[in-house]
Structure formats: structure tokens, C-alpha cells
Symmetry: C2
Subunit: 317 residues, 2 copies
Amino acid sequence: MKPPPLIEDIEAAHARIAPHLHRTPILTSRSLDCATGAELLFKCENFQKTGSFKARGATNAVLTLPPDVTGVATHSSGNHAAALAHAARLRALPAHVVMPATAPKAKRSAVEAYGGTVISCAPTLAAREEAAARVVAETGAALVPPFDDPRVVAGQGTAAVELIADAPGPLDLILVPVGGGGLLAGTLLAASAHAPRAAVIGVEPEAADDAARGFQSRMLQPQVLPVATIADGVTTAMSPMTFEIMCWLARDIVTVSEAAIAAAMRCIWERLKIIVEPSCALPLAAILERKVDVEGRRVGIILTGGNVDLDRLPWTI
Amino acid sequence: MKPPPLIEDIEAAHARIAPHLHRTPILTSRSLDCATGAELLFKCENFQKTGSFKARGATNAVLTLPPDVTGVATHSSGNHAAALAHAARLRALPAHVVMPATAPKAKRSAVEAYGGTVISCAPTLAAREEAAARVVAETGAALVPPFDDPRVVAGQGTAAVELIADAPGPLDLILVPVGGGGLLAGTLLAASAHAPRAAVIGVEPEAADDAARGFQSRMLQPQVLPVATIADGVTTAMSPMTFEIMCWLARDIVTVSEAAIAAAMRCIWERLKIIVEPSCALPLAAILERKVDVEGRRVGIILTGGNVDLDRLPWTI
């Protein structure tokens, strides 16, 4: 297992990446507060550079690479791909991104728009890992994984640092989606130092519940394939490091139905007037399905990103 | 013709309504700036109370009514209806809103959610005016028109006051949609005092071009019915007062195609990650269709509202 980052690493990450990224706003909705009986604070990482919080971890990782690095590489079909290409440009490094041939064209275009090179492969994890290893061997690029990396986890933790600092008072609860666990792990470490009285709860789809099963059994669980959820950002299984941090520090991991995810996503669009990905909607879905009790509490929610295919909305299918 | 408001009226309106409404943010997009060669500043009235700038004019009108007023009334099928109901609640006044029976259920629900009473009528202007006159006669309520009212125009002008004050430097150009002309008139008056070097240009759909024809001919023009545009917020014809202000102060009025409106709306959703109504997209549509020259200029754009039916998006029909 890779060593987890320390709170000092998160604070150093924040100072390092802040000049290059947005300090995203917190939005609130009086009607949602009335409907839930809580004070909901939405940290808008959909407004972050590249459209997701992944810019934080990727930027921190790239900026901490040694001076003689010649390039960076990763395999990703999602937001980490664009985030790494964007971060690499800050150091004028080439970025090699292995993507399955089935990845949406918009995701490929985003990588290319930031100057990254896309390498296509077959849509299996084995093919992706093999292609990434080959790129690293051929180019000497440094591999920057999407979440199983202490530099990446430290970067993701900076979103919670800002959420806690910018909230109008102490948070009682922080809700985050769980995929590979990079955001959850970073949030847990940040909250343990900066908001020790806040309970942190992870939320995942019922259809991709490896974290919940792992949290219950205290054994790292594989994802059961195929994964059928609209929350395409959280279908990855956790790594040993993110799993350990979750087991140490999380208050709970809860799961939500697909119907609740779609309803919560629509609710955020209609009430907050912002575009968010389905994965963003997991925390509000947990509130709407009463999987967490928020009555009378000040609740921080990290909205993870806004890169959504407008042609494929869950309520127009 | 009703007398136009003075800049002092707009400044008084701003002080009066500010405690009750949001100072909405200005958003920017590096990719849109690169694509257009301009510095685009989007004033986000979609985040305003009730979801549109109409809250400004309605609130100013309601707060300036005499102390013995017993209620307010209007006829509207759109954002002014909810804005008036919201404003009336600030003074605990009943709000009577005449709406065509064909108005979307969401618009009725918004009025009722703010405590207003909806009176249904046949979907013609004559029936609406007749029903509103009857409500006023029966209840003694004060009529608050959606735009042909100096108090309303003064309130709408406060959006430009904030845009000019919060911009990172002097504006070269301000672009606003034109429907009844309340926002355009308020913006023109505010800019003439606070940004006298900024050119203000109104944008309307080719399919609802009464303002452009009027601006060219210097004669108030009727709207040619039926109006076939997705920009449902700007289908009204102007009033003598808003028309006069436009003729005095506007640099130009340009028109855009339906395809450009849909493309610009999608562009705002994808790049800015915010929900805006089709009417909001008119200024960006004019830039994309090269109806205005923005190269090298700092351009303020007022995004008018975010109340859109998510089941009926122009790119999913």
C-alpha cells in the first residue's frame, strides 16, 4: 500500500495549486434548505478548471514531479484525463493519455484541446494498463494515476479545505461521492484536521457499491461488473490506500438508487441553475432518500464536476 | 407615453432592492474568450431570486407603492409573474396574477409557491388585459406591468449598474436581449451615466424583430404574430416609453437566427456550466453569427434568467 498523505501535504498542495486553479464558490438554495430542514452548502467544482475537482489532484501531482521529468501519462476515460493534460501544460510537458476507443468524443477532444495526446486502446482495464505501461516505457513519462497516489489524494483534499474555510460556520456533516476514493480520502484527511467535529459520509450508487461493502466488511471489495449506473464518474473500485483511509476516518458509506440520482441531479439543475454530472447528485440523492439525517445540520456537499453529455440526459431518455 | 425614469431613480432603486435580492456574480470563460477574441463578462441573473432579473423591477415597483396599498396585480405568463408574487410577499401583500390557461404548470406553481393567486384566462392579450382590469376593479390591487412602468425600468437598470461596477475595467460594449424593452431601457439609462463610453446593443430573434424594425424606421412597430422562436422571454412588443429610450440611446439592434440561439444556449451550458433560458443566449448568438464585432473588446452580457423546462431542450427535440 502506498503511504497516505499527511495534512501538511494537503496544505502544501493547496498553496501549490491555488495560483493555477479556481477557488470555486459555495452555492445555497433557500427552497432546498426549506425542503430538507438543513443548511446545505454546495461546493461547486463543476466551475473548476477542466470542469471537475480532478484538476486539483492532477495539478498537485504534476507540480511535484522532479525537474528532469520529460512527460506525464495516465489511463482514464473521464475527468482525470483532461485534468492531467491541463496540468501538464502548466509545465510545458507532453501528456500521454490512454483512453478506450469507446470513450465519448467530447472527452477525447477535451484532452486534445489542452494539448494532450490520446492513445486509443481496447475498452478493458487490462488493455488500458498495458497501453499505459508501454507509453511509460517508450517515452519515459511519469505515470500519474487517477486516485491511487498520495499527491493526487492531497490535491483532492484541497476542495474540502476551501469548503470548510468558506462555510459560514462549523460544518456538522460533509457528503462526498465515492468512486476510486481519491476525493473521499482527501476530504477525510482535510476534515480530520480542519473540521474534526464534522462527520464525513461517502455516497455511492447501489449499482456500484464496492465501497459500502468494503466499509461494512472491512475488506477491500472488487466492483461487480458490469456496472449499470448513470453516475459514470464513480464506477471504479477503490485502491488499498484510499480504502484504508476510508476505514479509519469515514462515519458511514451509504448507497442510493438510480431514480434518486436522476431526481437529485434534476433538482440541482432546476434549483441551483447549474450543470452538474450525475455523480455530483449522489449526496443530495442520499438526503432525498433519507439515507442520512440532515435535519437542523449544516451540511457541506462537494459537487464534483459538470462535464455531462447534453444529448444524453437521464430524464429525456 | 409614461415618463422614463432618471439615473437617480435607478440608483434609488438599487439601494431599495439590494437588501432583498442577490448581487449576482459575473462569470467568465477562457475558452469562450479565446474563441471570440474578446473579454466576455456574463452577469448571471439566472442566479437571481425567482430565477430572473424580473425580480429587480417587480421588487422596486412593489417597494415604492404607497403605504395604504392593499394588493398587487399583473398579467404575465413568464418570469414577471413569479417576480411579482415574490416581491409582494416582502410587504405581505396579496398578489393576483392573471395567466393564460395554456401557461406551463411550472410557471403557475412558481407563483403559488411565493403565495400568489393565479387567475386563469383565455390565451389572448385581450382576455388577459380584461381579466387583469377586472381583478384590479374588484380587489383594489395596484397594477404592476411587466415593463411599461418607470419603476420597473428603474429596477431592471440595476443589473447593469452592478455589471459596470463589478467589471474588471471599463466596458466597451453591453449586449442585452430585447423583448418588451424593460431591461434594454434600464440598461441604456444606467450605462449612459455609469459607462458613457460603452455602446449598448440590443439583440432579438429574427422571428420576433419588432425592436429592430422600430429602431430602423424610428416608428414603434407591432410584433408580427404568431411568433415562432425558442426565446419565449422576448416575444412581447415594446411600449412607447421603452421604444423612445431605445431610439435615444441604443447603438444598434441586431437579430439572430433560431439555430444560432440554440447553439449559443448550448455553448453557455457546456462552457459556463450554468442553466440559462433560450432568451439569455441572444447576445452570444449575435457574437457567434458575427452580427456584432467584439474583437479585442471588453463585453458585458446580461444573462436574463434560468427558468427553463428541462423536458423541452432545443437540442433534444
